[in-house]
């Protein structure tokens, strides 16, 4: 309904702006939001950065103030002199025979053993190349330090000892350099070595690049989740949302207005937070870090502005996410219950940037939250690129927009607005298990992610069996029983038309070859990490197992369990509410994600789409089980016998498989009624029809 159709005219403000201004007024009148928005970022976050560091520094300073008794065994005057001027160091000369006892009785805290040839090696100056050649052969001058590492006190105080020794080393190098004729070929070498001693610029304090991105994500999430819940769930619970929905406003305008307010709150918090963190790091006590040898934190204004820039899409995305989650809830309690999983998921995404193997990955740039934390980390360590920032910006904004759109559709839902429940019968008829599926899927996903990976550390083959039976098949069956769905119908347990079976069997080898080709192309853009290749290898070829065992566990079991889960349960439920094209794509994507690897997402996702198509078109799950088994089986056999899959013969075979499948699928016997094909919008109806036949 366009607003121009209204009988009134002359309205200067858009509906979105009206909603925005009102919500902003209301939010600013709520002290809880103000606390989240102002107090947390300005005081709490900097404190989180400063306290641990200051505390550590103070306690170390205290420990470092105590004197260290250094016992020197052997002779080296320059070293002893250096030690004597060292802070809190008391030097005593010890003999070969008594130093062990003195150490034991704590009369000295540390003993430095100087070998007899030490002075000679150190003090000798070299003036020619032959001298240098000699030096290279000669043993290196060595010092031996003895101390009781159980005594914490000494460990901290040792810094002064190390500093003194370091000073001595540098002094002797300098001395030697002075003695060298400038221009000698090996002089440079020494000099370069000398340069290397100086700390590198990017050696910034480790804590910051790793910790700061989390802090930023947490900050935005905390700042946005409260107003989001207040603006949506709050309105629902107080009964004002119904009023708003009766006003002639587009749902989209309401949603955008509300999201914008949350974005504003998030942005203000972020600006304040980043500014105060910057100020703390620049001027605060954290400036000198624990280990003095490291450079001070030095991060210019432009870098902070850059951080703010990449934070912008994050703020928009997390605001939309908070609003979306809030839109799913009816009461504050419910919303608070959703907050924790939300926190987990966002921090999980944020952590992806911390995994070194993933960090250089171009795929990660497309994943919201992960891409921003990656950017922040790279800015802090000075490895960022405009390209990366641009991709982050675009992909996060698109994700935010999609979320905003779907959140707008949730506003009017009767169950959320007025607590209207569907009867189990209607639920089943319409497949409206959205909430259950999300919870169920989340649990299965996390179980797979953690339990599956833990199990595989223990025993590869056994973990595959347990994963298939207990993490995939059992939950699927449990869900079926919980929803009291008719098993045969939901899982499409039905005799399939013969041509689909033929197609499935002939496609088995072809899909393996296609997957390999896709992987080959993909590696150009998304290189495999070695670690991952090793893992994969282990999975398809557990050492010391015969092929039949591997096939049983890694081909037959997935063909049954995974098919029942994806093409059976998920597809059986989702086909009631999704149009066919969307359905097979969604099932494919879920199947790709399920493999928990970016490298395998594309090939497995495509395979998932094909499997979903087969099930939908044939009305039976068995063709896809067949194909799944053939695919995995061929793949395992090929790796077992180290077959080269991109040879011409293999590609020819694959093509032949496609041709056979195409012929089989296009051949429709007249006697057979048109199977529920892709064109039919309401698939469940056609399933009934074909069952009646």
């Amino acid at each position: 309904m366009s607003s121009s159709a209204s009988p009134y005219n002359g309205k200067p403000k858009s509906k979105t702006t009206i909603v925005l201004l009102k919500e902003l007024k209301e939010v600013l009148r709520d002290y809880r939001t103000l606390i989240m928005m102002i107090i947390l970022p300005t005081l709490f976050y900097p404190a989180m950065l400063v306290f641990p560091a200051t505390f550590a520094k103070q306690s170390i300073a205290k420990l470092g103030q105590s004197n260290v008794n250094v016992g020197v065994v052997g002779q080296c005057e320059p070293l002893v002199n250096q030690l004597k001027v060292g802070e809190h160091l008391k030097v005593v000369q010890l003999s070969e025979t008594d130093y062990a006892d003195k150490l034991k009785s704590n009369d000295v805290d540390v003993a430095i053993l100087i070998p007899p040839d030490f002075n000679e090696l150190i003090e000798k100056t070299y003036t020619s190349e032959s001298d240098y050649a000699q030096l290279k052969k000669a043993p290196l001058p060595k010092l031996k330090l003895l101390l009781d590492t159980n005594r914490e006190k000494i460990l901290f105080s040792m810094a002064s000892v190390y500093t003194a020794i370091g000073e001595f080393q540098q002094e002797s190098i300098r001395k030697r350099l002075r003695a060298i004729d400038v221009g000698n070929s090996w002089e440079r070498e020494t000099k370069v070595k000398f340069d290397d001693v100086s700390p590198k610029e990017s050696d910034t304090d480790d804590m910051l690049p790793n910790f700061a991105p989390y802090l930023m994500v947490l900050m935005v999430l905390l700042a946005t989740s409260y107003p989001a819940i207040d603006l949506i769930t709050g309105e629902r619970q107080r009964g004002t949302l119904a009023l708003l929905l009766v006003a002639p406003v587009e749902r989209r305008s309401i949603m955008y207005g509300k999201i914008l307010v949350v974005v504003i709150v998030g942005a203000l918090t972020t600006i304040l937070g980043v500014m105060s963190i910057a100020a703390t790091l620049q001027f605060g006590p954290i400036k000198t870090t624990v280990v003095d040898a490291q450079p001070q934190f030095d991060f210019g204004l432009s870098a902070w502005l850059l951080v703010l820039l990449v934070m912008a899409p994050l703020v928009v995305f997390i605001s939309s996410l908070s609003v979306f989650v809030a839109a799913l809830t009816r009461t504050f309690q419910q919303a608070q219950g959703y907050l924790f999983p939300l926190l987990l998921v966002t921090l999980f995404l944020a952590s992806a940037a911390q995994i070194p193997e993933l960090a250089d990955n171009s795929f990660l740039r497309l994943v919201p939250v992960a891409n921003t934390t990656l950017c922040i980390k790279q800015i802090i360590t000075r490895h960022w690129s405009w390209q990366g920032i641009a991709i982050t910006f675009v992909s996060s904004s698109i994700a935010a927009l999609l979320l905003a759109k779907s959140a707008a559709n949730l506003l009017q839902r009767e169950d959320l607005l007025l607590g209207v429940q569907l009867s189990p019968k209607k639920k089943m008829e319409t497949g409206s298990y959205g909430r259950e599926l999300i919870i169920f899927g989340g649990i299965v996903f996390f179980m797979l992610f953690y339990c599956g990976q833990l199990l595989s550390l223990w025993n590869v083959l056994a973990s595959l069996v347990i994963t298939q039976l207990f993490l995939i098949l059992a939950p699927a069956l449990a869900f079926l029983f919980y929803t009291k769905s008719p098993i045969k119908e939901t899982l499409s347990f039905k005799r399939p038309p013969l041509r689909y079976v033929i197609a499935a069997i002939s496609l088995g080898f072809s899909t393996v070859v296609i997957s390999m080709l896709i992987l080959t192309v993909q590696t150009k853009f998304l290189p495999y990490s070695e670690e991952y290749a090793k893992q994969m290898q282990l999975m398809v070829m557990p050492p010391g197992r015969p092929l039949w065992q591997i096939i049983l566990v890694a081909a037959l079991m997935p063909a049954i369990c995974e098919e029942i889960f994806f093409r059976g349960l998920l597809q059986g439920i989702l086909r009631k509410s999704l149009p066919p094209q969307k359905l097979i794509i969604v099932i494919g994507i879920l199947f790709g994600v399920f493999h928990l690897s970016m490298f395998r997402f594309l090939p497995t996702g495509l395979l998932g789409i094909l499997l979903a198509y087969l099930t939908l078109a044939s009305g039976s799950i068995f063709p896809s089980m067949c194909l799944h088994f053939m695919h995995n089986g061929y793949y395992l056999a090929a790796s077992y016998y180290k077959l080269n899959l991109d040879s011409t013969q293999c590609i020819a075979l694959a093509l032949a498989g496609f041709v056979i499948a195409a012929v089989a699928l296009s051949w429709k016997p007249k006697s057979e009624k048109l199977a529920p094909a892709l064109e039919s919008v309401s698939d469940s109806d056609s399933v009934h029809e074909s069952q009646e036949k």
């Binding site: 309904m1 607003s3 159709a5 209204s6 009988p7 009134y8 005219n9 002359g10 309205k11 200067p12 403000k13 509906k15 009206i18 909603v19 009102k22 007024k25 209301e26 009148r29 709520d30 107080r238 009964g239 004002t240 119904a242 009023l243 708003l244 929905l245 009766v246 006003a247 002639p248 406003v249 587009e250 009017q412 009767e414 607005l417 007025l418 209207v420 429940q421 569907l422 009867s423 019968k425 209607k426």
Partner: protein
């Protein structure tokens, strides 16, 4: 006809009662300058019916037209022409009555140059000047109800659906509300309101519909209902109709 309701049906489900029809084929109409009352006991389906008319509940079947706009095909048109007051809705606690009226006035495309005057009129009409600038969280139930009514009609809609407009109001304010409804009728508005107070229906309504268990059992002027049942007082009429139908 300003409002035409045809065979509205709505199922609800809850674990104890199972699936049931909360509104079971209700049809009626209401023309300009007419007041129609929906009279029924608790849980009769009055609120549900009005919610469907107000486009926040989707009927399982049946339709309704408000000033020619169909509720499922053109909800936006319905919303522009309807003022909806519900007994279960709240107010924005952190805003003042004046701000709320302003907000809904703007959202409903009321001409901006006339909006302030309209708000002033409403504040005077409902005697809200004392608390027009106090945050709603500090208002009493009756004060809130006044604000709610004013909010529902701030855009001066031709059709009003008022769900128990006098709940929580004292006698004086109730009288004022009745007067307001009569005035609106005089201005040619179409008013549907629900109540379970017999005297209210008797006094105000041109026609009365008797709803029980989701069904509209009878609809007509007081005279017609008297003729139908042979009873004089609305209470007796109501009981007669409900009993007769239940016995059958």
């Amino acid at each position: 006809m300003a409002v035409e309701v045809k065979d509205l049906k709505k199922h609800f489900y809850d674990a104890k009662r199972g699936e049931f029809l909360a509104v079971d084929g209700i049809s009626f109409s209401c023309s300009q300058g007419e007041i129609v009352g929906l009279l029924g006991p608790n849980g009769a389906g009055k609120t549900t019916t009005l919610r469907m008319i107000a486009t926040i509940l989707r009927p399982d079947s049946g339709t309704a037209k408000i000033n020619g706009f169909e509720i499922t095909n053109d909800p936006q048109g319905v919303r522009k022409n309807l003022g909806f007051l519900s007994s279960e809705t709240g107010l924005y606690e952190r805003l003042t009555p004046r701000e709320i009226l302003n907000y809904f006035g703007q959202l409903s495309d009321y001409p901006l140059d006339k909006l302030q005057q309209r708000i002033e009129d409403l504040i005077k009409l409902f005697e809200m000047s004392e608390f027009a600038d106090t945050r709603c969280e500090r208002l009493s139930t009756g004060m809130k109800q006044k604000v709610s009514i004013a909010r529902a009609i701030v855009h001066d809609p031709p059709v009003m659906a008022l769900d128990e407009p006098t709940s929580g109001l004292d006698i004086i304010t109730s009288q004022n509300t009745y007067q307001f409804i009569r005035d609106s009728k005089a201005q040619g508005k179409c008013i549907i309101f629900s109540t379970h107070i017999m005297s209210e229906a008797e006094k105000l309504c041109d026609r009365i519909g008797i709803i029980h268990k989701g069904k509209l059992f009878a609809m007509g002027t007081l005279e017609e209902l008297r003729e139908l049942t042979g009873a004089h007082y609305l209470e007796d009429i109501f009981l007669a109709i409900v009993k007769e139908q239940v016995d059958v």
